[in-house]
């Protein structure tokens, strides 16, 4: 890769293939935001159409790029395709007659498969998979975060009066399919690939995207809260080079917001 193709720090502008990828990335972010606003305001099908078109365009832009140049700048386009995929899966599998916990697992399983396949294609190194004491400490931060999140959103409980078994299964599903899968998407695949194009800006773009995906909650306070939590999670992942702490924190926060606090308070 020549000097002209990388971020030129002196002028603060992007040139070469990265500039193209950056423009496509910004277009994708705008499309995702539009789609999320449409879905959040009840125009679900038009929002999904935007997501479907975006998904095809992103995969095409990634796969049909110039084969002579490095894959790295374009990797972000493939990683971003996870976002419309997530929303398409969310609506398609938002099955009203299925238990909410099963529904989350149904939505999360294809996403987990997509994350694994994309990580292999992009060639991302697996982050540290050994749980360290620092991961546990970071994970426990999810408890107060979940409390604050509940106070802002005050959702109905995911399960009205769960048995111990149902509660434990729900905890496991939330830990894996909201904690691990969503953190792997936003703080691993998307953040790492955004960093290739936007350098330090990747943290802010990834966090903004994470916040946009919560527009559907209909709570501006919760969207801001999600954005700030995303920023903090990005900072932690960058510092510790470990995904497990933030995945645990995200999972525990989800358990608090959806399972524990609605039943206790």
């Amino acid at each position: 890769m020549t000097a002209s193709t990388i971020f030129t720090a002196s002028k603060g502008v992007l040139v070469g293939p990265r500039a193209t990828v950056a423009r496509l990335t910004v277009c994708a972010l705008v499309c995702i935001t539009v789609a999320e606003i449409l879905v959040a305001t009840g125009s679900v099908v038009p929002g999904l159409v935007v997501d479907a078109l975006l998904l095809i365009l992103l995969v095409n832009a990634y796969a049909l790029g110039d084969s002579e140049e490095s894959h790295e700048p374009r990797d972000v386009l493939l990683a971003l395709s996870l976002v419309p995929l997530l929303r398409l899966a969310s609506v398609t599998l938002a099955l009203p007659d299925v238990s909410p916990v099963t529904r989350i697992a149904f939505i999360g399983a294809p996403l987990l498969l997509a994350v694994v396949l994309q990580a292999r294609i992009i060639g991302l190194e697996i982050l540290d998979v050994v749980i360290r004491p620092s991961d546990v400490v970071i994970g426990l931060v999810g408890l107060p975060v979940g409390y604050v999140g509940y106070l802002i959103l005050r959702p109905a409980p995911l399960l009205a009066s769960p048995s111990t078994g149902e509660f434990l299964v729900a905890c496991l599903v939330l830990l894996i399919f909201t904690g691990f899968v969503e953190e792997a998407m936003f703080r691993w695949l998307i953040l790492r690939t955004l960093d290739e194009t936007f350098v330090r800006g990747g943290v802010f773009i990834s966090s903004a995207l994470f916040a946009v995906m919560y527009l559907g909650t209909g709570s501006p306070g919760f969207v801001i809260f999600a954005g700030l939590a995303g920023l903090a999670a990005c900072a932690v992942v960058r510092r510790t080079e470990s995904l497990l702490g933030v995945a645990l924190a995200h999972g525990l926060a989800s358990i608090g917001i959806l399972l524990v606090w609605p039943l206790v308070l």
Partner: protein
Amino acid sequence: MTAFFSKALPNVVRSDAYHYVFNAATLLVAAVLMVLLIETELLRARRPDGAVGRAWFATTLPLALVFVIALVVRLHRYG
């Protein structure tokens, strides 16, 4: 966000419009799947390094899983 999402659409999920949204979403997934599968066949030769096949495989397989789950649940619940 997958866990909170269904709460964002209470009016849709609990109303008669739900089946319309459900059908449209399933059809959209099917349409995207078809486009990606056709493209894979048409454009595979353009990238001898296999990038086309790999990129589309990583998208079509999860989408196919979404479609199959939606179809199985729909057949099971609504016959």
